[in-house]
């Protein structure tokens, strides 16, 4: 899915959370959206997921204007907030079944995939436990497994690496995300951890005070310090010092 943001702004009262954001993301990329607290990362993700309506500007998917009424596009994406939208009485299995129905993703081999996901995310003994009895990390892993099973083209993950997942869950996320990107999917996640963005992304988008201050291939940013490219750490420091 080709993503285009054309001068997108989002205002909450006097707060301008997104300020004329314009960017293009081709399919098959893993994009890390980096920024400090309040930079507009979650607002950007929610706007892309149609949870928020832009105050100005336009979001386009594959060249077509996207808004909340476009169910066809909404079925091709999934947004996972840092607090997954599960109810306490649901179980990982029932939640996954519900997501598969909502995304109309029942297909041959889905049970095998579901079992692999439950195994890889270490959820098998918890598969019938209610979310009320699961930890935050376990709940996030279950919601993530359901998202992966639903197989949307665009994954919008809000702070997945700060959602309490264990190393096994993080490794599984990276593996499945890389596979999906290899099949033309787009993975867009927010993070504040520079090392993760450096290691696990094709493109890094840096937001500051609602503006995109950098959108570069990660390989460019990882060049040696004396080369024209800059390290992410240095870039973030420069931005902080400049007060951009």
């Amino acid at each position: 899915m080709h993503i285009t943001l054309d001068h997108v702004s989002k205002r909450f009262g006097s707060l301008l959370a997104l300020d004329e954001v314009s960017l293009e993301i081709p399919p098959g990329k893993i994009v890390a959206v980096l920024g400090v607290n309040g930079a507009g990362k979650s607002t950007l993700l929610r706007t892309l997921g149609a949870l928020l309506v832009p105050t100005a500007g336009e979001v386009r998917y594959d060249g077509e204007k996207f808004d909340r009424s476009r169910i066809d596009f909404r079925k091709r994406l999934a947004l996972l907030p840092d607090q997954p939208p599960v109810t306490s009485g649901q179980t990982p299995i029932s939640y996954m079944a519900m997501c598969l129905r909502l995304w109309e993703s029942h297909r041959p081999g889905i049970e095998e995939l579901a079992l692999s996901l439950l195994t890889d995310f270490d959820l098998l003994p918890l598969a019938e436990s209610q979310f009320a009895s699961l930890s935050r990390g376990q709940t996030y892993k279950a919601a993530l497994a359901a998202l992966i099973a639903s197989d949307p083209e665009l994954w919008l993950l809000d702070e997945p690496f700060a959602a309490g997942m264990d190393p096994r869950g993080i490794a599984a996320l990276k593996r499945y995300a890389s596979k999906r990107a290899g099949r033309g999917g787009t993975i867009l996640y927010t993070t504040q951890i520079v090392e993760i963005a450096e290691q696990f992304s094709d493109v890094v988008c840096i937001l500051n005070r609602g503006r995109v201050v950098a959108l570069e291939e990660t390989s460019q940013l990882k060049r040696p310090h004396d080369a024209p490219g800059r390290s992410l750490d240095r870039l973030i420091s420069e931005l902080s010092e400049a007060g951009v």
Binding site: I93, S94, M96, A97, M98, L100, R101, H106, I110, E111, A114, L115, L118, T119, L124, P125, L126, A127, E128, S129, Q130, S133
Partner: protein
């Protein structure tokens, strides 16, 4: 819940249980969680019973000196309280 969803849930649950049963560690974890759920049900049942008793006590005029026999009598409408 439509049929596909229900079938998927049932089938996946069956397969998960088979895998869990085959692994002693996973089975222990699953049973531990099941026990805590059972404990929750017992406590919930006790609270519901007390609440029912409190609700019934007012219209039937049961005082502090009531006993189980009185309570049972109240729960059976044919008998006088």
């Amino acid at each position: 819940m439509n049929r596909t969803e229900r079938d998927f849930r049932r089938s996946l649950t069956r397969r998960v249980r088979a895998i869990v049963d085959a692994s002693p560690e996973m089975r222990a974890e699953w049973q531990r969680r099941r026990l805590s759920l059972r404990r929750l049900i017992i406590i919930g049942g006790a609270v519901a019973f007390c609440a029912l008793f409190a609700i019934l006590a007012v219209p039937f005029g049961i005082g502090h000196g009531c006993c189980i026999r009185t309570l049972l009598a109240c729960l059976v409408p044919a008998r006088e309280c």
